[in-house]
Amino acid sequence: MITRTAAELAAALASGETTSVAATRAHLDRIAEVDGAVHAFLHVDAEGALAVAEASDARRAAGTTLSALDGVPIAVKDVLTTEGLPTTCGSKILEGWVPPYDATVVRRLREAGLPILGKTNMDEFAMGSSTEHSAYGPTRNPWDLDRIPGGSGGGSAAAVAAFEAPLAIGTDTGGSIRQPGAVTGTVGMKPTYGGVSRYGLVALANSLDQAGPVTRTVLDSAMLHEVIGGHDPLDSTSIDQSLPPLVEAARQGASGDLSGVRIGIISEMSGDGWQPGVLTRFRESVDLLVKAGAEVVEVSCPTFVHALATYYLILPAEASSNLAKFDAMRYGLRVWPEEGASAEEVMRATRDAGFGDEVKRRIILGTYALSSGYYDAYYGQAQKVRTLISRDFEAAFEQADVLVSPTAPTTAFKLGEKLDDPIAMYLNDLATIPANLAGVPGISVPSGLADEDGLPAGFQILAPALADDRCYRVGAALEAALLDQWGGPLVPPEENLS
């Protein structure tokens, strides 16, 4: 049961071969079995998920369904608010907080009949590339428990990779869906900015954040994307335009014909710092796309070398302001430094105790970048570079329908390896950050195991804003070709998990 894809589960539910309760229970059992080792979940809601599953089965028995994924269980990153279920964002400062409202994405999952298995682990407030910055302990990579599952959404990716959930929701500010996908051998899709509502997504950097699907197949991502996407009047930045047909694009791609599709290889994304085994799998994947009929061109995006620096000004600036609300006044942690302390003293003590070091580092960076006298040199300048990066994308998309690169420069590194070196940690997101700065969609699809370490590598496909369907079409074509080659999906060694 648990190794089935969401599309397969949906078909089995439709045919009556299984029930949502059985599928949900199987995944809850799997969580009980392996999550002690993986630690993908911060909170499991067995009771709630089973109740939704029962309702789904009753509905189906009565001849109706709410969506194509009605009854298929899902895990949700702990950065999206869930009414009645704790939401911590991986931080001590929100320990015990139960939101009184659902994020729009969560509401749409409920309205589509998906049982929510629980909330997944993440770097605190989505700051990190390894999930080691969670205040509740790291998540481990199912491929090698001594290694990181990527981040910030390591919990969602690991849960899907370890068959604890067929589907998960992630959020991607600089690669937090795609990089975990790459290093856990799963599929992660960051939609066009504004394509999926951010209402109820606890903001890291509002102008960069985007929620999206975390799955094991491209088709599953497309199906989930169609459930959560679309305009939301509660999010002013959400795009008031209907999505292109995504499932259709994935099915079209899976047929294996990419004739007429122009693939642009970003020349800046290789060379020093890129693991040879990752590059090998990348080049082989490009060859498979060519075999499927695609044309390949090399494109240059010279401003992308400034993307990381730009990102680390814009993100902390927005984050420093977003995180100001955590002040012990209305919800979450409250620390009294002493009897009779003033509100200001309580705020200070609470924030000191409640935020981890990485969060504090970025608050300080962002506060500095926005300070009077520095704004123009830092935040203002970063916004200008951001515009240049968007122009590079526009020029590149004149030559190619999609742009491709390895998703992350390396396979999963060891826990603790980069914890003391923030810059090394930040470099993981080199290839994923430009898409967030420009608001364009990007998907990471497994490209195989690197020769050096036998660990998964990811293949990233970027498309112009609103052309999310292209990610699915090309991604599905690559996936089909690779599955043919491998004779089945890549699966982490089961002996790791027991």
């Binding site: 999206l80 608010t81 939401t87 964002c89 929100l94 907080w97 939101p99 009184p100 409202y101 994020a103 951010r198 209402y199 109820g200 997504l201 606890v202 903001a203 950097a205 509002n206 102008s207 009047p233 509660l234 999010d235 002013s236 930045t237 600036a317 927005e318 420093s320 302001s321 100001a324 609300k325 955590f326 002040d327 006044m329 209305r330 919800y331 509100a343 200001e344 705020m347 506060t367 926005l370 300070s371 009077s372 704004y375 935040y379």
Partner: protein, 497 residues
């Protein structure tokens, strides 16, 4: 600590005042600036809140289109340019009554800018230049419990009501007002008064200074006479009546002059205004270190009002209140004093409507500024909030004019109207208030009065006509007020001649 002060007239021999006024207008939109919560004043604390205005994690703002419309109409009425494209910005600072610890406001891209208002003081016109009018959200309201003063100092705990958090505000900022000299306090007051009238005419706010729906911050500095160099300013916060605006300017001018005259420097700081004692005291020091780290609000898209919409809104602007007042004063033949009282009582509109319903201007004024103003005062409301309409007043006066009511009976009709007993005619019928015109009954009552007061009757017979009042009173009493006093007088004099 008591501040040393310089007599007001002496200030002006050495210094020129410069003023800047920041007026916050709370809009009367049905919902808040960035969420759907209701805005009614006076609800139970923390009952008009939602994830957005409480700043809960994940919640997002959506701009209230009606608030944008009100902002544009205010800007147009103040002769401002309206931005073709502008953004909201976050003003970052920590304060317990601010749910997100930033205020969503506008910074370098206000929706309205470069306007002016001509202010009249004692026949002289001052042009007050408007730098900008921008949109923002209000904060929650802190209540400090346990201290003597209601201020945070000395309190043992504080309560916060977030009902006000997110109420739409328009902040209207003037450029420095120079050259007002000795009239500076009056100019400040007249500006706020005229602005309030404009806001009332636009219908965009309750415009109640006593409820905080219009709040003024008064910036003031002095420069050495004719130097043209602006001095260091202080900002006196939350001056919440017209009279206080004038007094605060006057006080700060005297205080600044004393500080400067003593060879000391003015601290750039915010000051608290004390309505009771008429003084300002030091608030927090506003140093250069205060840095709000403004940046464009990334959760909102730019506001880009089309020119067609702006022109459509221009077409909805009311007549300029100053011009309207001058026109009405001429039409009604009111004296300056009568007009000032009318405006001061907030009775301009109701009097206009009463006159439109057929009453003479003087009669309309008599009711609204007399009997009805007294009742409004008792209830602590303005006359237009009374349960009596201009049409009711016009009908009552018509009944007086045709002789069916006298003033005393008319007041009883108002009693009935206040008690919700229906229309004026229904009250007259139900309470039996119409004047008795039965000459026989009246004649009998006069005879009774004469018989009961032989001394008075004797005086009148002797030609002391002034004594008739006592007999008229006795007759009116017997008739329970339902007689025409003039006719009673005629009968008394007739019978005793």
């Amino acid at each position: 600590m008591t501040d040393t002060l310089v007599a007001f007239d002496d200030v002006l021999t050495s210094y020129d005042p410069a003023m800047g006024l920041e007026v916050h207008v709370e809009l009367n939109t049905a919902s808040k600036m960035f969420c759907g919560c209701p805005t009614e004043f006076g609800a139970e604390p923390n009952t008009q809140v939602c994830p957005t205005c409480l700043g809960l994690p994940g919640a997002m703002p959506v701009v209230n289109g009606k608030a944008v419309e009100s902002a544009i109409r205010i800007g147009l009425a103040l002769n401002c340019e309206i931005a073709e494209w502008c953004r909201f910005a976050r003003k970052n600072y920590f304060y317990p009554d601010m749910p997100k610890n930033f205020q969503t406001s506008q910074y370098d891209e206000p929706i309205c800018f470069d306007g002016f208002m001509d202010v009249e003081v004692e026949g002289e016109t001052f042009r007050v230049e408007i730098e900008r009018a921008h949109m923002e959200e209000d904060t929650g309201k802190s209540l400090h419990v346990g201290g003597a003063t209601g201020r945070i100092h000395g309190a043992d705990h504080s309560l916060v009501d977030y009902n006000r958090a997110g109420i739409p505000l328009i902040e209207i900022v003037t450029r420095p007002i120079l050259g007002a000299g000795a009239k500076a306090p009056e100019v400040a007051r007249a500006y706020v008064a005229q602005l309030r009238d404009l806001i009332v005419a636009l219908g965009v706010s309750d415009a109640r200074m006593d409820q905080g729906s219009i709040r003024a911050d008064v910036n003031l500095s002095l420069s050495p006479k004719d130097s043209g160099v602006l001095g260091t300013r202080t900002e006196t916060k939350n001056v919440n009546s017209l009279r206080s605006v004038e007094r605060a300017v006057r006080f700060e001018m005297s205080r600044h002059a004393a500080v400067l005259g003593g060879g000391e420097k003015i601290l750039q700081e915010t000051r608290h205004w004390h309505e009771d004692t008429g003084v300002t005291t030091s608030g927090r020091e506003k140093s250069d270190a205060e840095d709000y780290r403004y940046f464009p609000e990334p959760d909102l898209v730019p506001v880009a009002p089309t020119r067609a919409w702006v022109e459509e809104l221009r077409g909805t602007l009311p007549e300029n209140p100053t011009a309207r007042r001058a026109r009405l004063q001429t039409e009604w033949g009111f004296s300056d004093l009568e007009m000032r009282d009318t405006v001061g009582a907030g009775a301009l509109n109701v009097i206009e409507q009463t006159i439109a319903a057929g009453t003479t201007p003087q009669a309309a004024r008599k009711w609204w500024l007399g009997e009805l103003a007294r009742r409004a005062n008792e209830q602590g409301v303005l006359v237009d909030a009374l349960p009596v309409t201009p049409a009711d007043v016009a009908r009552v006066q018509a009944l007086v004019d045709e002789g069916s009511l006298n003033d005393k009976l008319a007041r009883q009709v108002f009693d009935g109207l206040f008690a919700g007993e229906g229309t004026p005619d229904e009250v007259v019928a139900a309470r039996g208030l119409a004047i008795v015109s039965d000459e026989g009954a009246l004649s009998t009552a006069v005879d009774n009065a004469i018989a009961a007061n032989p001394d008075v009757a004797e005086k009148i017979r002797d030609g002391k006509v002034a004594a008739a009042g006592a007999l008229i009173g006795a007759v009116m009493k017997e008739m329970r007020g339902q007689a025409d006093a003039a006719r009673v007088r005629e009968l008394v004099l007739e019978k005793l001649s």
